[in-house]
């Protein structure tokens, strides 16, 4: 185990996978000579050279499509989006090409590609740079959607994603890059599609992914002070969703709160609620509640921004509601 930042854990995963498989290359804006806009690719140009660490012009649609074509004929591209906000320009390639190619070719052309980059709001970056798009991509059959919350999972899930034979949307928490954690050295692979219980509990299940895992864990600490023993689940993968982990937990705790950074309408939490009401209806002692980002474009003002984000206080309040505890 080594104490690494989430950023360096991603860097380690990229380096190890590029050493292991010469079909893997990294392409995107500023990934090479600048060492990565967020320094995830630091040092990789020096080690692997410009053939495999490829700087692009600002042309998200174009280089996303170049990645798709390269993947169709046997390479394993990792396409970095400087942020997922910019990937909106490339979404035609992700949704219309990468996700559908295997199916519409009758199984002849798979697209083993990873689209990765920072997702979600940071601090005061304004409406166009503060968005969480996991529910958009999770809606699409053919895509897998991964959103690690810890340094160890960042490494293990990125390695799995690069080895996966299908297109993977890999969402890195922009605010998580400096987060430190113990990361296993060498071959550390976390399977796609497996959630993790971050804290065992019996009174209520708090579900999060990416940044909201830390939010849920802090909420669980506060709830403990009120005598509530909360279980915290990190989804880690949004699609395919680990339905078993969710249902097992809720069938024990009988209550659930789902927290996410994204907007409420048709969000990830809506899918989780659909699952629980259908397959764990009899276990429920209260309606499942959701904590989401406010249903607004992200405001710049820091007080408004704080008000718009899912936070510990909102998760604690939601948990108290599903436990029918008096509001504080």
């Amino acid at each position: 185990m080594t104490l690494l930042t989430y950023r360096d854990a991603l860097n380690q995963a990229l380096r190890e996978e590029m050493q292991r498989d010469d079909r893997v290359f990294l392409m995107g804006e500023e990934v090479a000579e600048y060492d990565g806009a967020y320094k995830v690719s630091r040092g990789l140009l020096k080690e692997f050279g410009p053939k495999r660490i490829v700087d692009t012009p600002i042309a998200e649609l174009g280089f996303a499509g170049i990645g798709v074509g390269a993947a169709m004929v046997g390479l394993r591209p990792v396409i970095e989006m400087m942020t997922w906000n910019f990937a909106l320009l490339a979404i035609d390639q992700i949704v219309n090409a990468a996700a559908k190619m295997r199916y519409m070719s009758g199984g002849q052309f798979g697209v083993p590609i990873v689209f990765r980059g920072p997702s979600g709001a940071a601090l005061q970056l304004g409406a166009q740079h503060s968005q969480a798009f996991e529910s958009w991509y999770a809606h699409i059959p053919g895509l897998k959607v991964v959103a690690p919350a810890t340094a160890a999972d960042a490494k293990g899930l990125l390695k799995s994603s690069i080895r996966d034979d299908d297109p993977v949307i890999f969402l890195e928490g922009e605010m998580l890059y400096n987060l430190k954690g113990e990361v296993p050295e060498g071959e550390h692979v976390v399977p796609i599609g497996k959630a993790e219980i971050k804290r065992a509990g019996s009174d209520v299940t708090l579900i999060g992914h990416s940044k909201t895992v830390a939010v849920a864990l802090k909420a669980a600490d506060q709830l403990a002070e009120l005598g509530v023993n909360a279980e915290v689940i990190d989804l880690r993968t949004i699609r395919p969703l680990d339905t078993e982990a969710i249902l097992n937990s809720v069938s024990r705790t009988n209550r659930c709160v789902v927290a996410e950074e994204g907007w409420p309408f048709a969000g990830v939490g809506a899918q989780v609620v659909d699952l629980i009401q259908r397959d764990a209806f009899d276990a429920l002692d209260a309606p499942v509640l959701r904590v989401t980002g406010a249903d607004v474009p992200m405001p710049y003002n820091k007080h408004l921004e704080k008000a718009a984000k899912a936070d510990v206080g909102k998760v604690v309040e939601a948990a108290k509601k599903v436990l029918y505890m008096a509001a504080s």
Binding site: P57, A59, A97, S105, G106, D165, T243, V272, R278
Partner: protein
């Protein structure tokens, strides 16, 4: 930029005569295939959208003749002609149009999504211009692996106005990718004449913007197309440099099956005028002049091709639909053909 001229090559020797006959047969095959597809569509045997290639046959035949079996081809949604010229059988293409399990995309693609991995045929793409970067991606992979294959991309002139075209041609030239970008300029993007859509009237001039060699080519003469393609392919294969070919052609039929050949955006006279330079007629007349084609040979060829198309039609009709239990097959690699892979359980 150069405008190519008619090649001097004559069909005098036996090898050339055989080659010309091959071109003629392929163009006739595409023509009769498309006519049959049009009939089948009218009878409700083919669903969805269906875009015919009638009038443009020399583009696919002349250009694909310059390729090696290990080269890659990526096309748009008017791709029956390229698929057939590449060697996907008329049976497999017709069956795909019919949505049958024996189709080249196993009934999952349809007219606009023809694929054949064994022939390096990377589709059949139905979002205008979206496949241009995909073709460049195949070219990127060729260069990455140090190979000498070529990646060819076909798109209509209307696609030259979309962002993907600009982004891709810039990167292809910047990175010296072994690609040939074939802009099939048939004069209209659906019903919008090129002059109403592109500020630059000569699309080959767009190559200048990317420092990319470009040519305007007469797309009604298969021999002109072949020679221009030979130059472009050589540039890609030996120098690893891309080329933009604007191949000027004309579709004799409507944009799709729901569009009349003339009436709203173009006149009957205009269509008649272009039909005088039917690519099949252009080659056949040349061969007659050279003495390698006569009435007997022509009717023998017609009979042979029509028999092949009739066989393809019968095959497509008789073929089974895909098994409904395989609805979920190939959404993911190794996925369960019978079950959804998703957020909830299959219910």
């Amino acid at each position: 930029m150069a405008t190519s001229t008619r090649p001097e090559r004559a069909s005098g020797d036996a090898g050339t005569a055989e080659l010309f006959r091959h071109y003629l047969r392929q163009m006739l095959l595409i023509r009769h295939f498309e006519e049959k597809a049009g009939e089948a569509y009218s009878l409700g045997k083919i669903g969805g959208f269906c875009h015919l290639y009638i009038g443009q046959e020399a583009v696919a035949v002349g250009s694909i003749a310059a390729l090696r079996p290990d080269d890659y081809i990526t096309s748009a949604y008017r791709e029956h002609g390229q698929a057939l010229a590449r060697g996907i059988t008329s049976r497999a293409v017709m069956a795909e149009l019919f949505g049958k399990a024996t189709g080249c995309s196993h009934g999952r693609g349809g007219s606009m999504h023809l694929f054949d991995a064994g022939l390096g045929f990377l589709g059949g793409h139905a979002i205008v211009g979206s496949h241009i970067p995909i073709a460049a991606g195949a070219a990127f992979a060729i260069k990455y692996r140090g190979g000498d294959q070529v990646s060819v991309c076909y798109f209509g002139e209307a696609a030259a106005n979309i962002g993907a075209f600009h982004e891709t041609l810039n990167m292809a030239s910047l990175w010296d990718l072994p690609a040939v970008f074939i802009c099939e300029n048939n004069g209209y993007g659906m019903g919008t004449a090129v002059a109403r859509a592109s500020a630059v009237k000569s699309l080959s001039a767009r190559g200048n913007a990317y420092d990319m060699p470009a040519e305007a080519v007469d797309g009604q003469d298969v021999l002109v197309v072949r020679e221009a393609m030979d130059r472009a392919v050589a540039r890609a294969r030996t120098e690893s440099k891309p080329t933009l070919l604007e191949i000027r052609t004309y579709r004799f039929v409507g944009h799709s099956m729901s569009d009349a050949a003339h009436g709203t955006y173009r006149t009957k006279d205009e269509v008649e005028e272009y039909r005088r330079r039917d690519p099949i007629k252009v080659l056949a007349e040349r061969m007659r002049t050279d003495g390698t084609l006569d009435d007997a040979r022509w009717s023998a060829l017609e009979t042979e091709v029509k028999a092949e198309i009739d066989d393809a039609y019968t095959f497509a009709e008789a073929s089974p639909d895909p098994d409904p239990s395989e609805l979920y097959a190939n959404v993911y690699a190794g996925g369960d053909a019978k079950r959804e892979v998703r957020g909830g359980k299959a219910s």
